[in-house]
């Protein structure tokens, strides 16, 4: 079977339902058995502006969106003006017949104009808001997808609003679909047919991590809303009642992180999520968690800074902040999942590492990954395949058998067994942000000060042993090695695949565990690299700097992007000269 590979772009102004239509269409395409990725692009505003949602669907796995589109779903005239140049020859524009578009824009272009009375059909069945349903039904009609996946999603998404709304949307979809089939059913030379495929999840990093955290036994979440992390908090809050969580929308990020520390101290898995500005406020709390050896998981979804930067856009410029923020010296872990499956598994790992080593674990994501959705096989989200390790914890019975209990006892691995406060009169202790003795009481003794720092830093040895070497994709021996971390993975993978398909020899080395830096693994994997190119969404090549700092390896070139938008394969290809 030949490859079907169709990209859609839904555009309109804020308030027109671009995002919900996009999400619904992704779901429909996924249920049609296709591999799908959807990437929203929106402004930090509630009304107006130009928002769009790009969707690519194929019968083969997809890793990134393309720069070109086959079908443009224009909810307004501006969308046509903005995106007409991206439409491939033979592509289509779906637009309401009452939207006046500048005819000159189409002059000389091989583009089919699918002008349909979608607003009229929506109005006829009760409400103009159903115009988005009509638009998706028309798209399904022109590419030959069939209406079933759309009806399926209508049922699901509007079910809660009642049978009348479901029925009205179904009628709108059916009428729009039938008319579009009749008028435009055979204008396109390509098709996107539903496939037989195992059930897949259409999910992004935020939700994958949040779901993983819930399954990993996170019971306490406190946070403060900040784009692009907010959907993590909303997920936790939305599941709190049914799944036994305490979720607190705190007065600020300072409170949020300190509440997590208080909760974690009692013996519960606790986490927060934020973006750069909120993380700034949390750095003081991170140092408290470090000194008190309190497990803490922070999910950091990056967006461009400094200051407010671009609130709804993406970048990867907070790597150094994640690695080195907060005063003093202490062990920490920084992980950067590159796919939703990895984010799901990372949630378990983050809590395991945080509790096993009584340390801070920062999970890095960014707006691109956080807001995108991609289809993933269900097998990547198997709770039973994940482990739970709560580290050294003493029960009341175990405490009874001890002559005395010291919360910060010196041990071979630097990890002192925890005893949750309140479980036994044997475990009554002070937890202090001041330097302290093994029993927790504060001290300024010179020898104890250095001994306790050594004790805490010793934990790094254990953690280091759990850090994984970077992942390599593509041939082991390649002329060109692309270096990536975090969300660049998809576009870089795509770029590699395109080049290799043309006969080039390219591989991709993806770093997932970032700190403690897997230096040995990095050296092994990169040992034979002939031409090393770092691809990063920041302006100063932070990862390349880190690599050099930790291994002495100097990359040959960098491809950087810091315009607030995610990478595309074409962007990378345009900047690579491949011999």
């Amino acid at each position: 079977m030949s490859t079907m590979d169709t990209s859609f772009c839904i555009g309109g102004e804020a308030g027109q339902g671009v995002e919900s239509s996009g999400a619904g269409f992704v779901q429909a395409l996924s249920r049609a058995g296709l591999h799908v990725i959807g990437v929203p692009s929106y402004y930090s505003r509630i009304r107006g502006g130009h928002n769009f949602f790009t969707i690519r669907a194929s019968n083969e796995p997809v890793h990134a969106i393309k720069d070109t589109i086959e079908v443009l779903l224009a909810l307004n005239a501006e969308t046509v003006a903005e995106h007409v140049a991206d439409i491939v020859p033979g592509g289509a524009i779906i637009v309401d017949e009452n939207v006046e578009i500048d005819a000159a824009l189409l002059d000389g272009r091989d583009v089919h104009l699918v002008a349909m009375p979608m607003a009229e059909i929506a109005e006829k069945h009760g409400s103009p808001v159903m115009v988005n349903t009509a638009t998706l039904a028309v798209a399904a009609a022109v590419v030959g997808l069939g209406l079933l996946p759309i009806l399926n999603v209508i049922e699901e998404n509007f079910g809660k609003k009642g049978g009348k709304i479901v029925d009205a949307n179904r009628l709108v979809a059916q009428e729009s679909y039938d008319l579009a089939r009749k008028r435009y059913g055979d204008v396109l030379s390509f098709q996107l047919k539903a496939q037989q495929a195992p059930e897949r999840l259409a999910i992004g990093t935020n939700h994958a991590f949040a779901m993983g955290a819930l399954m990993a036994g996170c019971k306490f979440y406190s946070g403060y809303p900040m784009t692009p992390s907010t959907s993590v908090m909303e997920y936790m809050a939305g599941h709190a009642v049914d799944w036994g969580l305490v979720v607190k929308h705190a007065e600020d990020e300072i409170a949020a992180v300190n509440m997590c520390i208080g909760a974690s101290y009692t013996g519960v898995r606790a986490m927060t999520a934020t973006s750069g500005g909120g993380f700034d406020l949390m750095t003081e709390g991170i140092s408290l968690a470090a000194m008190t050896e309190t497990p803490l998981v922070i999910y950091l979804a990056q967006r461009p800074g400094p200051a407010t930067g671009l609130a709804t856009r993406t970048n990867q410029a907070d790597l150094m902040m994640a690695l080195f923020s907060s005063h003093g010296e202490f062990p920490r872990v920084v992980l950067a999942p590159h796919t939703p499956q990895e984010a799901f598994a990372t949630a378990f790992r983050a809590f395991n590492l945080a509790e096993k080593y009584q340390c801070i674990v920062i999970v890095l994501s960014d707006q691109y990954d956080a807001s995108s959705v991609i289809t993933c096989d269900k097998t990547g989200f198997d709770m039973q395949a994940q482990t739970i390790d709560r580290g050294k914890v003493l029960s009341a019975q175990a405490l009874d058998a001890l002559p005395n209990y010291q919360r910060f006892a010196i041990t071979d691995d630097g990890v002192s067994p925890r005893a949750y406060p309140g479980i036994s009169p044997k475990a009554v202790y002070l937890t202090s942000g001041n330097e302290h003795r093994q029993d927790g009481h504060i001290t300024e003794d010179a020898e104890v000060t250095s001994t306790m720092l050594d004790k805490r830093m010793l934990k790094l040895e254990g953690i280091q042993g759990e850090m994984r070497a970077p992942l390599r994709f593509g041939p082991e021996d390649a002329e060109l090695t692309l270096l990536s971390w975090g969300s660049s993975y998809g576009p870089v993978f795509e770029a590699m695949s395109l080049l290799n398909a043309q006969g080039a020899s390219v591989n991709l080395v993806q770093f997932v565990d970032l700190w403690p830096f897997p230096s040995m693994g990095a050296q092994e994997v990169l040992a034979g690299a002939k031409r090393l190119v770092a691809v990063e969404g920041n302006g100063t090549a932070q990862f390349a700097t880190l690599l050099r700092m930790q291994t002495g390896i100097i990359v040959d070139e960098t491809i950087l992007k810091y315009d607030g938008r995610g990478f595309t394969a074409q962007y990378i290809l345009d900047r690579l000269e491949v011999k």
Binding site: E199, A255, M259, G262, S264, G422
Partner: protein
């Protein structure tokens, strides 16, 4: 039943001789005994400042946090383990300055925390700078021309924010302060006790004698602590020209404590609940949401 000795350890305070913290320290130990609590049932959360070292000098679970973060950490403890008796002890700089936002929101949250503020109207541990409750004109190293700002009015702020237990104590009246602590522990929801505390080193104008001349007990004058308007008048009485009312200024037991409203806490402390609260098979529902 525990005794005062059970809440004591062998670490001696580093406070100045005559410091008001001694009185607060003794009142807290006495109040914990009166309330029938054992050391492991209590978490004493402190911030940064002279008085915030109190949990170092006691046999009790303690979290000695960062400056201003006392209430935030305490909130996390109580929200995760409602069975724990959580008591905050911190100074006026910690609570009303650095931690002002946490104070503002704790007063309206009604989470079951006892909040004891050692209000000596000055910064002691950093050796004598004016504080959020210092009177205007107070000359210190950071206010050489005298403080220009008016003081924070903690009791009035708490009342206006909807706090359900608002009290003032006096560090030198240990039995009275211990009784206030017991009432605060038994209260349903957040309980503020602002404690008038002499600082003999850095706030000499507000001496023992200065306080003794002004302090009086509201209960001796027939104050009705259920009358919010009367309570607000009492709260606004100090700082002023004359007297300092102490005792329970306001109490409302009709409102539920925040922790009572959280379904997950109906089963008690989170750490004692199973890691996953539902049968494993149920978790497939979470995947279905994304199919």
């Amino acid at each position: 039943m525990a005794t005062v000795q059970d809440f004591s350890n062998d670490i001696r305070p580093t406070w100045c001789p005559g410091c008001g913290d001694y009185g607060i320290w003794n009142s807290i130990k006495r109040g914990l005994v009166q309330a029938g609590l054992e050391p492991h049932q209590v978490t004493l959360v402190t911030g940064i400042g002279c008085g915030s070292k109190m949990n170092d000098y006691m046999h009790v679970n303690g979290i000695h946090t960062l400056h201003g973060r006392t209430l935030a950490v305490a909130t996390g403890v109580k929200l995760a383990n409602p069975e724990m008796q959580v008591i905050c002890v911190h100074g006026d700089g910690d609570s009303y300055g650095e931690g002002g936002n946490h104070f503002l929101h704790s007063t309206r949250r009604n989470l079951g925390i006892v909040d004891v503020v050692e209000d000596n109207h000055v910064y002691g541990l950093t050796k004598g700078q004016y504080s959020p409750t210092s009177r205007p004109g107070f000359k210190t190293k950071t206010s050489p021309e005298g403080a220009f700002e008016g003081p924070v009015m903690p009791l009035a702020v708490a009342l206006v924010q909807g706090a359900t237990f608002v009290a003032r104590g006096f560090a030198l009246d240990i039995p009275h302060l211990a009784d206030l602590l017991v009432a605060a522990i038994e209260h349903r929801g957040y309980a503020l006790i602002d404690v008038m505390q002499p600082c003999v080193s850095f706030n000499r104008p507000m001496s023992y004698a200065w306080y003794r001349e002004r302090v009086y007990k509201v209960e001796d004058e027939g104050h009705d602590p259920t009358d919010r308007a009367a309570a607000l008048n009492k709260a606004l009485e100090y700082p002023g020209d004359g007297r300092i009312p102490i005792g329970i200024i306001y109490q409302d037991e009709s409102k539920p404590a925040y922790e009572e409203l959280i379904p997950a806490l109906k089963a008690g402390a989170l750490h004692a609940q199973p890691l996953r609260t539902r049968p494993d098979a149920d978790y497939d529902q979470l995947l279905r949401e994304f199919v």
